[in-house]
């Protein structure tokens, strides 16, 4: 029997890790993530989850412990946020390059200074090139579900995966979350069994020195694995949908069938933007929404496909690459350069440091895109 609990996004992540039967959890607390590992430590202490909980002195060590566990053939999980993720940076490369499918929840929190605990996407997007899969979630249910989807897909392609949820908007907000029967989950997600394990009785060398003659080949293997991951994630999402009745996809399309213009967005703001789309539809605009669920690997073909069917794209970035523009905006335009049908793409930087993104902000952005200069770098809502 499945159960429904009304829980926070953080606890949805904890339950997701519990029901994925994580075997090692190594973590260091940081707001707004702390509740994730707090609940997991309770699960480990009371025997609900048969896992080793490793308390460490930093996020760098947390990831190092997860990598060691994963190399030993164990399902490893951690959670972090913002500065904690930044401190892990070296180990993020190590996890991906060593091909250890660790899964981690990152609660999107703005980087300081000025000190902030509220949401934006710069922390996770700054880790774009580390080789991790990145899943941006919209709801607490999706956080729970994506934990299992990430473990399954990541273990197939031997790459680590980061599921991303917005600080407070998801992390501390209660929503009903349905948790399927454990037997069904175990069938969907069998135990992790990598081809080579760190084992004292069967010695292997991991991450050995590789000369310039072979380094590029090993890098190409990672690129190949990412290309495969795009297909694998879709298959796993499909299987998850067939088993549990919830399907997300890598680029979720909302009211796009007859859309003439489309909003592109990631994270929980997508649900606000869907309401805005409904309102604008009532006002006669043929508008749709494409939610970027998977950022790495990037769903280039799906982006090009939706681009070929609309006259205008509006990208809303809760992040910025200083000295250039919004990061999704940048990525989407790069994806379209080789497309035959290339509509104009407008980019807006908005909602940084947890500034509220309401329906009026979304409709306002869409209206401004009607008249603004496409060359402009647009910061929505900056006080003048």
């Amino acid at each position: 029997m499945s159960t429904v609990k009304v829980i926070t996004g953080n606890h949805a992540a904890s339950f997701g890790a519990r029901d994925s039967r994580a075997e090692v959890i190594a973590a260091y607390p940081i707001t707004p993530q702390t509740q994730i590992v707090e609940l997991l430590s309770e699960f480990c202490a009371d025997g609900t989850l048969k896992a080793k909980f490793i308390k460490v002195e930093s996020e760098h060590s947390a990831m190092a412990a997860c990598i060691g566990a994963s190399a030993a053939g164990v399902r490893a999980y951690t959670a972090t946020s913002a500065h904690g993720l930044a401190l892990m940076h070296e180990m993020l490369h190590w996890a991906a390059n060593g091909r250890h499918p660790v899964v981690m929840a990152n609660v999107n929190r703005a980087m300081g200074p000025p000190w902030s605990i509220w949401t934006d996407q710069n922390d996770s997007l700054a880790q774009r090139d580390t080789g991790w899969l990145q899943f941006y979630c919209e709801s607490n249910q999706e956080v729970y579900d994506t934990t299992m989807i990430a473990f399954k897909a990541c273990e197939q392609v031997l790459l680590p995966g980061m599921l991303v949820l917005d600080a407070f908007i998801l992390s501390h907000t209660y929503e009903p979350v349905e948790m399927p029967d454990q037997e069904l989950i175990d069938e969907f997600l069998p135990p992790f069994d990598p081809p080579y394990k760190m084992d004292l009785d069967d010695a292997r060398a991991f991450g050995a020195l590789t000369t310039p003659e072979w380094y590029m080949e090993l890098r190409y293997l990672i690129q190949e694995a990412h290309e495969k991951a795009l297909v694998t994630v879709r298959e796993v999402e499909k299987e998850f949908g067939e088993t549990f009745g919830r399907y997300y996809g890598t680029l979720e399309l909302y009211r796009c069938d007859d859309a003439e213009e489309v909003i592109l967005i990631a994270g929980s703001t997508a649900s606000t933007a869907k309401d805005a789309v409904d309102i604008m539809r009532k006002g006669g605009r043929k508008i749709g929404l494409a939610r970027i669920k998977l950022f790495r690997p990037f769903p280039n073909e799906e982006i090009r496909d939706i681009a070929s069917r609309v006259n205008k794209m509006i990208v809303i970035d809760r992040n910025v690459s200083f000295g250039n523009q919004g990061i999704f905006f940048n990525e989407i335009k790069a994806s379209l350069y080789s497309a035959k049908n290339r509509p104009p793409v407008y980019g807006f930087v908005a909602g940084l440091g947890g500034r509220d993104m309401k329906i009026d902000d979304i409709t306002g952005i869409v209206e401004q895109a009607d008249t603004c200069d496409i060359e402009e770098i647009l910061w929505w809502g900056v006080k003048l």
């Binding site: 031997l158 080579y196 292997r204 020195l209 090993l218 190409y220």
Partner: protein, 94 residues
Amino acid sequence: MKEKGWKECLWGGLIVDAGNSVLYKTGDWRSQRPIRDEQKCTDCLQCWIMCPDAAIKVKDGKIVGIDYDYCKGCGICCKVCPFDAIEMKEEGEK
């Protein structure tokens, strides 16, 4: 024979067979080669003690040669020899 390609490579710098470092002939790194003068050598074994790569071959307490497969040409043997019995020569020099 076609050289191995990326498809035949193992990921992550993984080496499956243990104890394979013996196959890596670090002597390739050498730019200078130690040459031992058997007339001057007294088999005091100072070079054998100091060699960081265990490249001084000894049998029954006597030096029988230098293992050029693993000698990196660091020159420590030449430096420590009390009898100037080891000379460093540029590789390729006769």
